[in-house]
């Protein structure tokens, strides 16, 4: 066991290594470790929050979906109702239109009949005059017997 200057040398080296470790090694590594710990804790908390938000969102989506479904059902039933009404209305319209057309046609027929009758009446009057002329074989004053002819024609 020779003690010599090595003892002092080793003490100095030891001191330098301890100083270096304390100043340049320990702090950054421990800091990285604690930072990572914090980061992991943060990540876990964020994941937990995300999980909660997800379930909340799902709940909200379900609510929106339910509302939409109800609205759709309502709209559908309204539309069906409206369609029925429209069909009903058009049936009524068609019926009245038909009746109107029938009435118009009947009126037209009436008018045509009257016109034909009038025409016929005039033609019969002329024919009657001509026939009377022939029958009487004498000139009759048309103007003098006009009222007679008219009377006759009206009786046809």
């Amino acid at each position: 066991m020779n003690f010599n200057l090595t003892l002092i040398g080793q003490m100095i080296s030891f001191g330098v290594f301890v100083w270096f470790t304390m100043t340049y090694v320990w702090t950054p590594i421990v800091k990285a470790l604690s930072d990572r710990k914090a980061k992991i804790a943060e990540g876990l908390a964020a994941a937990e929050r995300g999980h909660q938000e997800k379930s909340l969102g799902e709940q909200r989506a379900q609510e929106v979906l339910n509302t939409a479904k109800a609205q759709a059902t309502e709209i559908l039933s309204q539309a069906q109702k409206r369609a029925g009404e429209i069909v009903e209305e058009s049936k009524v319209d068609a019926r009245s239109e038909g009746q109107r057309l029938i009435a118009a046609a009947q009126a037209e027929i009436e008018r045509e009949t009257n016109r034909a009758r009038e025409e016929l009446r005039e033609k019969v009057a002329t024919l009657a005059v001509a026939a009377a002329e022939k029958i009487l074989k004498k000139e009759i004053d048309v103007r003098a017997h006009q009222s007679l002819v008219d009377d006759f024609a009206r009786q046809i």
Partner: protein
């Protein structure tokens, strides 16, 4: 062993237990010691070049590796090196938290340095005992040195200079923090007033003084003794290699078994040194006595 053939067993062991000492010899002047006696004659003002070289090399590797990790330390996913360094740092941090109750930013880095550095110095013991000394002797022979007088001890912790240096630094810290935390009166009171009270002061002083002084001595001698004995057994096993193939095979098996067992010892000794340092510093920081 090629050099061992010409040596006696005693010479072989002696050769392995002699440091490469540089110093001023009373007769040869500034030179490397030719033998253990020559190293002793150089007195205190000589230096064990091998011990210094290997301990500083290993310490340099240690701080370089950890500094490299610390520089690139990322909060994100750590790489392999960072993982390894963080594993050690957390292990040390846990131990220091467990046994050190005070607040001192020096203690944990000190514990890390002791554990890793001592472990690395002890680890040198697992390199085959003849390999590095033989290579060194052969390469020095190129420069004209006699390989029989070129010594090299590769395990710095088998040199009591190393273990006592560590223990003395720790002891200095124990004294410094004892005075700082307890105050001069508090510390002297602790040394002189217990366990027997004021009237037992001389007995107290003797008991507490021995207990105080035994701390660095036991720290240094425990590490030195374990490593020295371990190295000695490797040397003795290595001696058997020269005794024919049967003895050589036995020696190979023994060396393997002892090396495996030694892995436990070197780790344990580094750990014990670290834990005791932390415990002693914790005692120095306690003020409630």
């Amino acid at each position: 062993m090629s050099t061992a053939e010409t040596l006696t067993a005693q010479g072989y062991i002696q050769h392995h237990l002699t440091n490469l000492t540089l110093g001023v010899h009373p007769e040869h002047g500034l030179s490397f010691a030719h033998n253990a006696q020559g190293a002793a004659e150089m007195g205190f003002w000589a230096i064990n070049v091998d011990t210094m070289f290997f301990s500083i090399l290993l310490g340099w590797l240690f701080v370089r590796f950890f500094r490299g990790v610390a520089e690139k330390a990322s909060v994100g996913i750590p790489g392999a090196a960072q993982n390894f360094a963080e594993w050690i740092v957390e292990f040390i941090d846990e131990n220091v938290r467990g046994s050190f109750t005070g607040k001192n930013p020096l203690v944990a880095p000190l514990a890390l340095t002791i554990f890793v550095w001592v472990f690395m110095m002890n680890l040198m013991d697992l390199i085959p005992v003849d390999l590095l000394p033989w290579l060194f002797g052969q390469s020095m022979a190129i420069f004209g040195a006699d390989p029989h007088h070129v010594f090299l001890r590769v395990v710095p912790t088998t040199d009591p200079n190393t273990t006592f240096a560590l223990a003395l630094v720790v002891f200095g810290m124990v004294l410094y923090y004892s005075f700082k935390m307890k105050g001069v009166g508090g510390f002297l009171g602790e040394l002189s007033l217990q366990p027997f009270g004021v009237w037992g002061m001389p007995a107290n002083l003797i008991l507490e003084g021995i207990s105080l002084l035994s701390k660095p001595v036991s720290l240094a001698l425990r590490l030195f003794g374990n490593m020295y004995a371990g190295e000695m057994i490797f040397i003795l096993i290595a001696l058997m290699f020269g005794g024919g193939w049967a003895l050589g095979l036995t020696a190979g098996a023994l060396q393997f078994v002892w090396a495996v067992f030694h892995i436990l010892i070197i780790t344990l000794q580094a750990f014990i040194f670290m834990v005791l340092t932390v415990v002693y510093l914790d005692m120095a920081h306690q003020t409630h006595h």
